[in-house]
């Protein structure tokens, strides 16, 4: 692992549109950027056996998740000519309709930003020790499984 500081991608609660706008606005001084790609995960009000998901409660094994995210970040920066990369994931109870994942990449030309964003989303879902507990409207729950 390099000497670069490990960033904390986790935040308590939902990721607000205002937070995302702020993050976008901060790139207007980076005038070498020509394309930004963003992925956002939003909690679905899925119906499972007649019950609706009201929220997902996210927990993580934080030390392991952050070390793994650091490794992914370095691999992606190595692979693509990116200007910027930002990843944020919610912890705690995120209500249906709220945003729980925000991945944001930027590059001079569009292709690296788009490809890096897609690869980041796949790796985050597959490799980070994060668990989502789907909480139904009647307070019962089941554990989410990524497909």
């Amino acid at each position: 692992m390099s000497e670069k500081k490990i960033k904390n991608i986790f935040m308590d609660g939902a990721i607000s549109p205002a937070f995302i706008a702020d993050s976008i606005a901060q790139h207007s001084t980076k005038t070498a950027i020509g394309g930004h790609s963003i992925f956002m995960g939003q909690v679905r009000r899925d119906e499972i056996n007649g019950k609706f998901v009201a929220a997902i409660d996210y927990t993580t094994y934080q030390e392991v998740a952050l070390a793994k995210m650091h490794e992914i970040r370095e691999a992606i920066f190595e692979k693509y000519p990116l200007s910027c990369m930002h990843v944020h994931h919610s912890l705690g109870k995120i209500k249906a309709g709220e945003i729980c994942l925000f991945v944001f990449t930027s590059s001079a030309h569009r292709k690296p930003a788009i490809d890096a964003c897609n690869e980041l989303v796949e790796r985050i879902k597959a490799e980070l020790p994060i668990w989502g507990k789907e909480i139904f409207e009647d307070e019962s729950h089941q554990w989410k499984e990524n497909i």
Binding site: G41, Y58, T59, T60, Y61, E63, V64, A67, K68, H89, C100, L101, V121, I124, K125, A126, E127, L128, P129, I130, W131, G132, K133, W143, K144, E145, N146
Partner: protein, 77 residues
């Protein structure tokens, strides 16, 4: 040998964080057998182990005071 066990997600509902004292267990394969005997709910579940915050891919030696995490499939994002 003393081991610290921590667990996450669905598995944390039936294995809580605890210290265990085991004998005749030297590696993670043996620990896995021990856990599946003690907590039969693990049988048939997919899970991974991490030893001292390193996710392991193959059998690994254990030593005194190791921390072992039991992790069900990830579901972030």
């Amino acid at each position: 040998m003393k081991l610290e066990i921590i667990s996450f997600g669905k598995i944390s509902e039936f294995i809580t964080g605890q210290e265990i004292e085991v004998s005749e267990i030297d590696n993670t394969d043996q620990l896995q057998q021990y856990l599946e005997t003690s907590f039969p709910q693990l049988l048939g579940m997919k899970y991974k182990l991490a030893v001292n915050q390193n996710i392991i891919q193959a059998n690994q030696q254990l030593t005194e005071n190791d921390q072992v995490a039991i992790m069900p499939p990830f579901s972030g994002g």
